[in-house]
Symmetry: C2
Subunit: 576 residues, 2 copies
């Protein structure tokens, strides 16, 4: 049986019901868009009774297809007030799928704040009071759960930031060995989980009898072909060695690297925080340092790493491009050890490192601490975790911080911080930030992928490009695959059809699958429209349209009307 | 010549241009709605370059018609993100009118924060650098201006809150003798003025040659009739003696008095903070205490007062219903001396006392200080003025405060605090709060006026009632009259026609004037729609639909769809 598990967080009742025929055809990001539209009043309070936190593995979540361990978490966002889906690797997603669960839906809120464990197993779902988990850091929570429930469970957790319902709180997961800490970081979903009084979700798939694929052989063959194509991709070595931090030097040369609160696009200390430097440090320091690690079991791309401190102990796992850009160059912090510590503090407190890095940049512009003050920045993140008054400002993210501190240069769209690609010099991302139902989120359609084919400074074809990237992301996020799994689909889009045929027996042409992506965006957009956060109301921050960004001295100049075309663009059949 | 004065606050240029034929037919709140719609991009940053602060006397601003000294200030609101008009008495409005100025429009923002004086006189407009005014309290600013520019100028000013661009900052004016401090309080307009680098506006009408009314005799006669009707109103004695604070005991008996962050509608210490008590204290303490004072020259209603401290010195002028309700019962503070001091602190720091009182209630619910802690509350307002981190949270108003402190019971609609009438027990105000383009603002259509004719707890006819009250308010706010001037218009709506005929020679039937009110609301609503803050997206706070309010134990239960009818309601010819 494929089921939907619903947990009422007020009265504690859990219901496991068979998925309807329609629901069987929803997964991951698509399922979240459908459930939100069907069940959550668009104008409801994101932290109130009527919002729902939805956890949904993608279509391929219970297969061994490479990278398929990613799963989606979504809700109406306390940061953007619109739909938010955030996906993440780790172990929990596959275990949810193996239990035959299509979605876990957390409903209502408790009458008073609580810290509880939600236990999901073959016995169903149950809430366990756990006041001892109040305000525990994320790694400590993982450790306590591990001690209590053993080494084979999957764990999903929030930190103190989520408990305090801070709008920049994310949701953390672990890998099989508690090495990697991965985040469904964006959109403040950790605050929604906190509002429901759930500190941690433990997934125990012991005894699970996963439903068998429709055609195991077909699935296996398609996966073999897929893996073959992935590992023969020329970028794979680069990805394994440098991970996403390889982007630093490219971003720097393109002038898109956020620097000192988005006041420059190049950072004079870029080399010191580059992917090459990351790899060198890992190699030199030995100890627990590693690169080429998977974030989810069976991934062949393995872009994750363990970044060691000078003594060789794990400082953070992983260190990645976005976090280096936002916590590093954007704060004028040019030492990887500092960035790793800042990143780890975000992980422990339970914060989106992108939102937090952008927030620190604004706090620095407001002279709360000077630019480049790494120790001051660490103190500020600790203050967020402690809930000091300043911490409570910062924990609400970059928009509240800018307003409270009287700063006008707020790098955010739809309430959410702009990630590590300045839209003035990567204009395709500007189109994505403004038009995506997700707000400023590079994973919703990242034009960095296409800098070789679409001039990042040009106006022409950015809208088409963003449209294509947005559909692509929606498909990938619905499958439960990683965005880095794209290259094989460029050559062989039919792989999607083979995967779904092998897993479910569906006969879906690639065109139908492409329509799925379009449908996801349409559903999300409709939710946002009814929530009052339609993209027509949320433009590029004014300073980005007026302040030329050195050294390219570009402003964001794609007309708003031009961006609105994104919904009408006709594309060639293969968006990959 | 009737002119529009435009001041570019970036380059300092001021332009005085003749009002167009169309502009001549706009005034007060109507003018603000038209200018905003014509000139301010609806999605622009309220504190950015493209917002404009507009100051506009009403149609009757330069006449001697009783109560006509009120004038309107408006902009895109940093609190609601929609249109905001706030009107106020004092001396400045009439002086602007006497100078032949229909509107003062502050455009753009300076490149760096500034404190400047905007001088308006027969010589035009000029900006004067005044760094010495940085962070001065409101009364101190008035005093410095008085010393510098003499006793006959009108003064408009912001406090430190406006300079810090806090979303709950208001704009203050004085009367002719610097006794009353009146506020265009709501919607955060003080932050907009602060964003423009204008600390104070001085209006010097020396040498002004006001344009003569079309028919002075007709105007005089109509005013005589109007005054006669006003002074023979049975309520007038009550208004003069108790002012708006007379409402306390009525509100208490109806169960609509906000108490302890809107958790009750009756306050056990209501008598101690009642209008009767206000009058008794004034009478007993003698000294500077007064009741029956006008807030603007020539008002015959005279609902203002000077509330004395125990030594007989002015503690605050005036003490009024809304401020007593929000700073008093809503904070469980039951001593008038405390409330007067809190009110005066708001005046000095430059804050909307309604927004601030609601914010303190939420801070108390969050245990920042206990309910009833008057000294703690005073300290918090001082902290807002000092811009401490906690002060910066509170200064952003009740929504940001609730979010930052993790409180879900946030009494606000469209980002703005609910004033002194709980919508659960005065449901007509609920309709106004939700549907008015102004957000939660009782002056936009106050059903308290109609509690005798429309059951405040009933569902029936609340929508019609709110519609009627909203149109009425829009007309009055466009004329530049006080809402308390209503009674004569009930009997003689044609008085409006006589006033406009006498002043301008216009032949407008009452029906046409009523259409003006409808047109104002339509224009404002259109602006909000394009700004993304259409009333369909901003509902009653969820707790008000769920938590019965003792002692009446009512919830707000007018269906959202029912409220949407407000735009289609057909009304009888006289809305007064």
């Amino acid at each position: 049986m494929i089921s939907i598990v619903r947990v009422n967080t007020r009265n504690g009742r859990a219901i496991k019901a068979q998925a309807s025929e329609e629901e069987l055809h929803w997964g991951g990001r698509m399922l979240i868009s459908k459930f939100l539209t069907r069940e959550v009043p668009p104008t409801s309070d994101p932290l109130g009774r009527y919002n729902k936190l939805i956890i949904a593995p993608g279509f391929l979540g219970d297969t061994t297809i490479a990278t398929a361990g990613k799963f989606s978490i979504g809700a109406k966002s306390p940061l953007t007030s619109g739909v938010k889906e955030s996906n993440v690797g780790g172990e929990a997603g596959r275990k949810i799928s193996r239990l035959g669960i299509k979605a876990i839906v957390l409903e209502d809120i408790p009458e008073t704040p609580k810290a509880r464990i939600l236990m999901i197993s073959t016995n169903g779902a149950k809430l366990i009071e756990a006041p001892e988990l109040k305000h525990t850091a994320v790694s400590e929570t993982f450790q306590i759960m591990r001690e209590r429930f053993g080494s084979s469970v999957g764990i999903i957790s929030i930190g103190p930031a989520g408990e305090m319902m801070m709008a920049s709180a994310g949701i953390a997961v672990t890998d099989a060995h508690d090495v990697q800490v991965r985040y469904a970081a964006r959109g403040g979903l950790g605050a929604v989980m906190g509002s429901k009084g759930i500190k941690t979700i433990v997934i125990d798939d012991t005894g699970a009898k996963p439903s068998r694929p429709h055609d195991a052989k077909l699935l296996q063959e398609a996966n073999r072909e897929f893996v073959q194509m992935l590992v023969s991709d020329p970028k794979i070595e680069n990805r394994r060695k440098y991970g996403t931090s390889a982007i630093i030097m490219v971003a720097n040369s393109l002038g898109i690297l956020p620097t000192r609160n988005f006041s420059a696009g190049q950072f004079e200390k870029a080399e010191r925080i580059s992917g090459e430097q990351v790899a060198d440090v890992i190699t030199e320091r030995k100890g627990e340092g590693r690169y080429g690690m998977p974030c989810t079991r069976g991934c062949v791309i393995r872009c994750s790493n363990v970044f060691p401190d000078p003594s060789g102990k794990k400082a953070v796992a992983s260190i990645q491009y976005e976090n280096i850009a936002l916590l590093g160059s954007n704060c004028d912090i040019g030492e990887l050890d500092d960035i790793a510590e800042l990143n780890n503090l975000c992980n422990e407190v339970g914060l989106d490192a992108i939102e937090t890095g952008a927030t620190l940049g604004v706090a620095m512009e407001a002279s709360v601490i000077p630019f480049g003050d790494a120790e001051g920045a660490k103190d500020l993140i600790r203050q967020i975790g402690q809930g000091t008054h300043l911490g409570r400002i910062l924990g609400q993210g970059v928009v509240v911080t800018g307003k409270a501190l009287g700063i006008r240069r707020i790098p955010a769209i739809k309430g959410q911080a702009i990630p590590g690609y300045d839209p003035r010099t990567l204009k395709g991302n500007g189109v994505t930030y403004v038009t995506s139902p997700m707000g400023a989120d590079h994973t919703a359609g990242n034009a960095f992928e296409t800098v070789k084919t679409t001039d990042p400074l040009g106006i022409e074809s950015q809208v088409e490009n963003s449209r294509r990237l947005q559909i692509r992301a929606a498909i990938i996020d619905t499958m439960g695959l990683c965005l880095f799994s794209r290259p094989p689909f460029v050559q062989r889009p039919e792989l999607f059809s083979l995967f779904l045929k092998g897993r479910y027996g569906w006969d879906l042409s690639y065109d139908k699958i492409s329509q799925m992506g379009i449908d996801v965006l349409k559903t999300e957009r409709e939710f946002n429209k009814r929530a009052g956060v339609s993209e027509e109301f949320h433009q590029m921050p004014e300073f980005m349209c007026e302040e030329p960004l050195p050294p390219k001295n570009a402003v964001f100049d794609i007309p708003f009307e031009e961006m609105q075309r994104v919904w009408e663009v006709k594309l060639p059949p293969n968006v990959f």
